[in-house]
């Protein structure tokens, strides 16, 4: 407890400090020109010694032969690698609690629970993440709706990218229930919802018939599920184990939902089914699972991203804080590359693909003319453990500078040399 409050205090100060410093170092300029040593556009080929022209926070031009207007403010990054910021397509961090106790609460929203000063956002910014979809956790059948935020801003409103994005469905049965009951619960909810809509339409029809004014609104507790059924929302369906995947696909088919599958580590067994269904996928943070070979009794390493890659499935990575590598999106991508995935593809699944899955690819996910000027400046190759995020630009505004990152200094430099107490006895 004590420590957390201390951390939060520090981070408040820090954010205030950063924000303050921003205020005069890098005011939002109309015209910007980034001179980068290497630009990883994701959209197309990498560009050596290119220029990115930014106007009012959107990219006007990218290339080597872009001539810089006289009035543009030039950002020197000749020794840097510039690429679009990372996007988290699914996370439940940054909330006080991820799950509600009730099994069916589609009406709640993470928007009301996101904690702007949670260190998670600060860390994410430091690690080059520029947008994340915060969804409820995996323990609730109908968990609620999500919120897309950027990890920068003092209030949720300031952080907001999209308020009403995605609805979380979890097929993992909650304690002392079974998968049978869980599925039945879901079916019953939907059938009751459809009954409700039918009656609603009926009442509406009657009202029209009798030329009465009809002002009845749809029940707020059902609204989000209704939106899900008419494709206004995307369903993020969590599959705990491979056995849940067929059911998720069945749900998607029967109700024709926009669906993204959020997979547990066991789901690689169903890679074929998923490929057939052509649904987008968010992999579990654990990318390597071990399986005992029945014949030889040996342990075999299963590299999940490779299995899906070979099956032709389009996926995005996610992170968790349980292990220090895993909490970096770039590390997840690097792991995939380690076992034979192409670097371009790996990078796509931490930038463009997640942006597509959460529906912000019109703004984020790549460096293209017309997209938002949101990019990160790296000291080296993105998948090299030795390279750091040096600067982060969100919509043409530099919101993070490593040189001014007090926390990072604290975490890396030795404590101020004070006289170590000598034992006196």
């Amino acid at each position: 407890m004590k420590s957390r409050s201390r951390i939060t205090l520090v981070s408040i100060l820090l954010i205030v400090f950063i924000a303050g410093s921003m205020a005069y170092t890098a005011p939002v300029r109309k015209k910007l020109a980034v001179e980068a040593g290497r630009i990883i556009t994701i959209a197309g080929k990498d560009i050596k010694n290119g220029v990115i022209l930014v106007e009012d926070g959107t990219i006007k031009a990218v290339g080597t032969d872009v001539e810089i207007p006289w009035d543009a403010f030039v950002i020197e990054a000749k020794d840097k690698v510039v690429m679009p910021g990372f996007v988290m397509a699914h996370t439940s961090d940054g909330l006080d609690r991820a799950n509600e106790n009730m099994p069916e609460v589609p009406f709640i929203s993470t928007f009301d629970s996101i904690d702007p000063i949670s260190t998670f956002f600060e860390d994410s910014l430091r690690d080059g993440v520029v947008a994340m979809l915060v969804l409820p956790g995996n323990n609730t059948l109908l968990g609620g709706t999500g919120t897309i935020v950027k990890p920068y801003g003092r209030t949720v409103e300031a952080m907001l990218v999209k308020r009403y994005a995605g609805l979380k469905i979890s097929l993992q049965p909650s304690r002392n229930t079974s998968r049978m009951g869980h599925m039945q619960r879901f079916r019953r909810y939907v059938s009751e919802l459809k009954d409700y809509l039918e009656e609603y339409e009926q009442r509406k029809a009657e009202a029209e018939e009798e030329k009465k004014p009809f002002d009845e609104e749809i029940d707020v507790t059902k609204q989000s599920m209704v939106d899900l059924l008419n494709k206004k929302l995307t369903a993020f369906i969590y599959c705990d184990r491979a056995a849940d995947v067929p059911k998720a696909i069945e749900i998607q088919k029967t109700h024709e939902l926009n669906t993204v599958l959020v997979l547990g580590p066991d789901c690689y067994k169903a890679a074929g089914l998923i490929a057939k269904s052509e649904l987008p996928v968010i992999l579990d943070p654990q990318l390597i699972v071990w399986e005992t070979n029945e014949q030889t009794n040996e342990e075999e390493m299963k590299v999940i991203p490779m299995i899906f890659h070979k099956a032709g499935v389009k996926f995005a990575f996610q992170t968790d804080t349980s292990q220090y590598g895993r909490r970096y999106l770039w590390y997840q991508a690097a792991t995939a590359v380690k076992y034979g995935m192409k670097q371009e593809e790996a990078l796509k699944s931490i930038t463009l693909y997640p942006a597509q899955f959460v529906g912000v690819d019109n703004r984020l996910g790549s460096i293209e003319t017309g997209k938002e000027a949101t990019m990160i400046f790296l000291t080296g190759d993105p998948l090299d453990a030795q390279s750091w995020v040096d600067q982060v630009m969100i919509a043409g505004e530099i919101v993070y500078e490593r040189a001014k990152d007090e926390r990072l200094k604290k975490l890396l430099e030795p404590p101020i040399k004070l006289q170590e107490p000598k034992d006196t006895d």
Partner: protein, 450 residues
């Protein structure tokens, strides 16, 4: 055989795939190809030393002809097409694939029941994991179909299903028939403690829910009548209106909408004999209670487990109630357990002698133990059951009890070609399964390790 196991799932995945990496297709097709006879299109002829059709008398040196997954002809002299693939099982036995009527295969540990005690609307298919590894081992012992029903920790656990072990990893592909029966359990205690009061409450709460269902059905019909009434009136009203809008006519009132209740709907099917009611009962009292319920509500009763059945064999026989009996030996379950206190290995023998129609199940500790079906039958024989009946009790009888006898359970023209080729008589435990076909596809072929 390995390739065989792996192939079929890949194949199933490939089938529907639109944009697929060419290599992937080729590779899997190639694998498919080497797993010979996987094409059901081709005509297959099995020359057998002894055919045990189960439905009829054994045929010596007979031939079974298979066309697109079904048995086309069977007998001592059947004409074999020129292009037919001939499997020579000379000197070997050929029999229909066996059925484990009390299987736990594909079941996810601890998920045979939900928390609620009366839950007939649940479906076992939602609780299965098709990705388990045991299935091929079981198929390799000549078991081609398993019957899986919910557990005994709920009074009414949900509906059951019969799956085929055709090596698929898609429940849909494996499913032979769903909603076979609604599973209930009387006097089975989760934690080995049992009281006569507990039994009473079990019995009465099942009875109560059946009674409520009767009421529910009554209301549903009443409402349906009202609705029809309303529609008629409404039609007239509309006609009038159309005729002359000016005329004053009072608009009929729409009756309250009827909310169908899934729980009751299922039990209604049971009462109308659409679905049999499978009641697990061990002790005499429980068995008698089950019979009493059947007498009162007239549903089709299947007695499950029926451990002390031999003590009331007459009662069971008199009512022509079918029985899925198991385990034959207490070695299959964890002893000492209260329900099995008076277990007697002669149970099957006595019941069948009394003329009860019974199927033998393994009801083992785990999924893989479904492979012991033939073993269970042999045990029953050792304790006095008739050989033919015992063999029938793991093939045709279960198929009949579960209502899938039109498709599996015996070797007859028109039935699905789920066929097992064995080196010796199936009841001789030491004889080895040589080959297993399901709907004409080879799912197992023995490669000699020695």
């Amino acid at each position: 055989m390995d390739s065989n196991r792996r192939v079929s799932p890949i194949f199933l995945q490939v089938k529907g795939m639109k944009d697929i990496k060419g290599i992937f297709v080729l590779a899997s097709l190639f694998l498919l190809f080497i797993s010979a006879g996987a094409f059901s299109a081709q005509e297959i002829a099995i020359k057998a030393g002894t055919i045990l059709p189960i439905s009829d008398a054994p045929v010596e040196n007979g031939i079974i002809l298979i066309k697109d997954g079904k048995i086309a002809a069977l007998g001592p002299n059947v004409a074999i097409g020129a292009d037919a693939r001939v499997i020579d099982a000379g000197g070997k036995f050929v029999m229909p694939g066996m059925i484990d009527a009390q299987s736990r295969l594909f079941v996810i540990e601890g998920e045979l029941n939900d928390s609620s005690s009366i839950a007939p609307e649940l479906n076992i298919l939602d609780g299965l994991d098709p990705f388990v590894k045991e299935a091929p081992e079981v198929a390799a012992q000549g078991v081609t179909a398993v019957y899986i029903s919910p557990g005994s920790h709920s009074l009414i656990g949900g509906s059951s299903a019969v799956l085929k072990l055709n090596g698929s990893m898609d429940i849909g592909e494996m499913l032979l028939k769903g909603d076979i029966a609604v599973k209930a359990a009387i006097g089975v205690s989760a934690n080995n403690e049992s009281s006569s009061l507990g039994r009473l409450s079990d019995y009465s709460s099942i009875r109560e829910s059946l009674l409520e269902t009767k009421i529910y059905v009554h209301n549903r019909e009443k409402q349906a009548r009202e609705m029809a009434e309303y529609n008629k009136k409404r039609a007239e009203y509309d006609k009038k209106k159309k005729a002359n809008p000016a005329e004053k006519a009072d608009k009929p009132k729409r009756p309250a909408r009827f909310r169908p209740n899934p729980t009751r709907e299922v039990l209604a099917k049971v009462l109308s004999k659409e679905i049999p009611f499978q009641i697990e009962a061990h002790r005499v009292t429980d068995i008698l209670n089950a019979l009493r319920l059947a007498d009162e509500f007239g549903f089709t009763l299947i007695l499950d487990k029926c451990t002390e059945g031999y003590l009331v064999a007459g009662e069971i026989a008199r009512r022509k109630v079918t029985v899925i009996l198991g385990p034959v030996s207490t070695s299959f379950i964890d002893m000492p357990s209260l329900e099995y206190r008076n277990h007697d290995i002669r149970n099957a023998a006595i019941l069948s002698d009394k003329g009860v129609k019974l199927a033998l199940g393994v009801s083992g500790r785990d999924g893989a133990s479904s492979k012991f079906v033939a073993l269970a039958a042999a045990m029953a024989v050792a304790s006095g059951m008739d050989r033919d009946l015992a063999l029938r009790a793991v093939t045709l009888t279960p198929a009949e009890i579960l209502g899938v006898a039109d498709r599996i359970g015996s070797l007859q023209a028109g039935k699905e070609a789920d066929i097992v080729i064995i080196s010796g008589h199936p009841l001789d435990t030491l004889s080895r399964v040589e080959m297993v076909l399901i709907e004409g596809k080879t799912v197992f072929e023995r490669k000699d390790q020695q």
